[in-house]
């Protein structure tokens, strides 16, 4: 079921009506049914994996919860300090074992289905070095919808209960409603059970104001998706899919367009699901904060897919940097190079895990690993050389708060982020390198005089509509960045607002008429 379709509109409408018609304490059950319905519309067989992940993480968390309670009693009942310490160590050991087994079981199907081909392919490639007759055709497996997302949600939940951040949920159906919540299951945002459950199970009254706000946000998201993301898909695919037949300047243009497309697609989706949840009174986390205004790659990742970054920070970065080895590295580096470098070295150590995981999370391919490590290298070198940058800026009399410097930093970050995508977009390392080589060996700047050669496969009308929409998105981002968007919306007369909505609807309809690519979301593939 495509999100921009009549079927989806009917599904959302029925869900909202049913949600507000039944008594508040049963509202969550409407979501439970809606989740099952939505998931089964993509293929009923795959729900088996979702139920298994849900059951394993639910029971694992319940056992951890019991250990937390029983362990506390055992510790307080222990006699002297030595006994208490022993009870504490025993509890920790048992909890670690339970959490480890639960997480491995939750991840197992996901690892096999997502990384089976990658792992087996590499093993066979290695064996083929010794015996060229060995070959591997690949398994014909499909990764079920949202599996990466619900697996990570389940792991986060188990770890949070392990850390006693909140108690385990007793009602399996309620927990399963959280895990399978369709707005956040296809491509995020990553939610924490204790945060989402506050509004998901509270029982919400209907609000006309929320309905209007939510509906306008859904429209804004659909506008981004239908008028910018979908129409540009063909151009990007045609140029990058046949990079050998295009010039360097066309390839660079395609990567810039790809960044805009990905942003419109992903943030458009977030607007739609956040708007839908807002109507229901459910607070979904924001996943974007004007990412193209980031001045460094590090800042970019605090503005783009925010909840994924936070997930990796909480469940990979902190455990790695604060592990025994992480602390040893930190101490050793502090003694050897002083406080500043010591602080950075243990962070770099943890970031290797974070970016290996982030790369592999985005795709089971060496290209994604290279993409992750490029991010890692740029972020670490920026931090490591920050003193030198400050010195150079002082010598060149560059003011960090000047508009021109900030603009330069934003453009530099955009170029870097787009350049990294040479690897994440390519089907293999060889194609990525060949695409880069093409840019440097056959750039042909003179082609700039032929604009029609850039928007390959797009109609003139589509280009105009897309450019207007992209300018509108950029304008709203500027207003949001400068903190003026809320005031502009508040002061905007109703007539003007209605006119803006009408224009957006007309543009969506016009684009849907000329373009037939609408459908899946890019991040759903991860």
């Amino acid at each position: 079921m495509s999100l921009i379709s009549l079927d989806c509109f009917k599904f959302a409408l029925i869900t909202v009506i049913a949600y507000f018609l039944i008594p508040k304490r049963f509202q969550w059950f409407v979501l439970f049914i809606a989740n099952i319905w939505f998931y089964c519309s993509y293929g009923p067989v795959y729900i088996v994996f979702l139920v298994l992940a849900g059951a394993v993480s639910y029971f694992g968390a319940r056992i951890l919860e019991k250990e937390n309670n029983d362990g506390a009693k055992r510790i307080s009942a222990a006699g002297d300090d030595k006994e208490k310490e022993e009870a504490r160590r025993g509890l920790l050991r048992r909890k670690k074992t339970i959490a480890f087994i639960t997480i491995i079981l939750v991840m197992s199907a996901w690892i096999v289905l997502k990384y089976g081909n990658f792992l087996a392919g590499n093993v066979f490639a290695l064996l083929a070095v010794f015996d060229p007759a060995i070959s591997f055709e690949g398994f014909d497996w499909v990764l079920p919808l949202g599996m990466s997302f619900y697996t990570f949600h389940a792991i986060g939940y188990v770890v949070d209960v392990y850390r006693k951040k909140y108690p385990a949920e007793k009602n399996f159906l309620k927990y399963f409603t959280f895990l399978s919540f369709f707005p956040h299951m296809i491509q995020g945002p990553f939610s924490r059970f204790n945060d989402l459950s506050k509004t998901m199970f509270a029982g919400n009254s209907f609000s006309y104001t929320r309905l209007c706000e939510g509906a306008s946000r859904i429209l804004w998201g659909a506008f981004k998706k239908a008028v910018v993301a979908d129409p540009t898909a063909g151009t990007v695919n045609m140029i990058l899919g046949a990079y050998a037949d295009h010039t360097g300047i066309q390839i660079v243009f395609a990567f810039c367009l790809y960044s805009i497309r990905l942003y419109a697609d992903f943030s458009g989706y977030m607007d739609m699901v956040c708007g839908f949840c807002h109507i229901l009174g459910i607070g979904l986390e924001e996943n974007f904060r004007q990412p193209f205004f980031a001045k460094t790659v590090d800042e970019y990742w605090r503005r783009w897919h925010i909840t994924l970054g936070r997930w990796f920070r909480d469940y990979v970065f902190y455990p790695a940097s604060m592990s025994r080895n992480g602390m040893k590295i930190s101490k050793w580096a502090r003694n050897k190079w002083g406080a500043k470098t010591g602080k950075l070295i243990s962070g770099y150590f943890a970031m290797i895990f974070v970016w290996t995981a982030t790369g592999l999370w985005h795709g089971a391919n060496w290209t994604y690993l290279v993409w992750g490590y490029l991010n890692l290298i740029v972020m670490c070198s920026t931090m490591q050389l920050s003193d030198k940058y400050t010195l150079i800026k002082e010598k060149l009399k560059i003011r960090s708060d000047s508009f021109l410097w900030k603009l330069f930093c934003m453009i530099r970050t955009y170029i870097l982020i787009s350049a990294f995508r040479f690897f994440s977009v390519a089907k293999d390392i060889r194609s990525a390198v060949a695409t880069i080589a093409k840019v440097f060996t056959d750039f042909r700047i003179s082609m700039i005089r032929q604009p029609s050669e850039f928007f390959v496969g797009m109609f003139r009308e589509e280009i105009i509509l897309m450019a207007i929409a992209a300018a509108a998105i950029f304008t709203v981002d500027i207003l949001n960045e400068t903190g003026r968007w809320a005031k502009v919306k508040e002061k905007c007369p109703a007539v003007l607002r209605a006119l803006a909505y009408s224009i957006m609807i007309v543009m969506i309809i016009l684009m849907l008429k000329t373009d037939d690519i609408t459908g899946g979301f890019m991040y759903a593939n991860f």
Partner: protein
């Protein structure tokens, strides 16, 4: 408290630790700052702050962090 203030100031001289109460909520401290603070505090006070203690309420102010240290020292 004086010793803790010195550690915090060494790591982030630009932050007003005496008055700030939203160090985590307002993203004043980043993840690199947090791990440095934990590493230094563990060494200086002989405690073992671990990843489970990384809650905003423990790190939002110097006062809250000091309370955590005292609680850990008391066992």
């Amino acid at each position: 408290m004086e010793q803790l203030m010195k550690i915090l100031k060494d790591i982030r001289p630009d932050v007003d630790f005496e008055n700030a109460t939203d160090l985590i909520d307002s993203e004043i401290l980043d993840s690199f700052d947090i791990i440095s603070i934990v590493s230094e505090v563990n060494d200086a006070f002989g405690v073992e702050i671990n990843v489970d203690d990384l809650l905003p309420e423990n790190f939002n102010s110097a006062e809250a962090l000091y309370e955590l240290i005292k609680k850990m020292q008391a066992g």
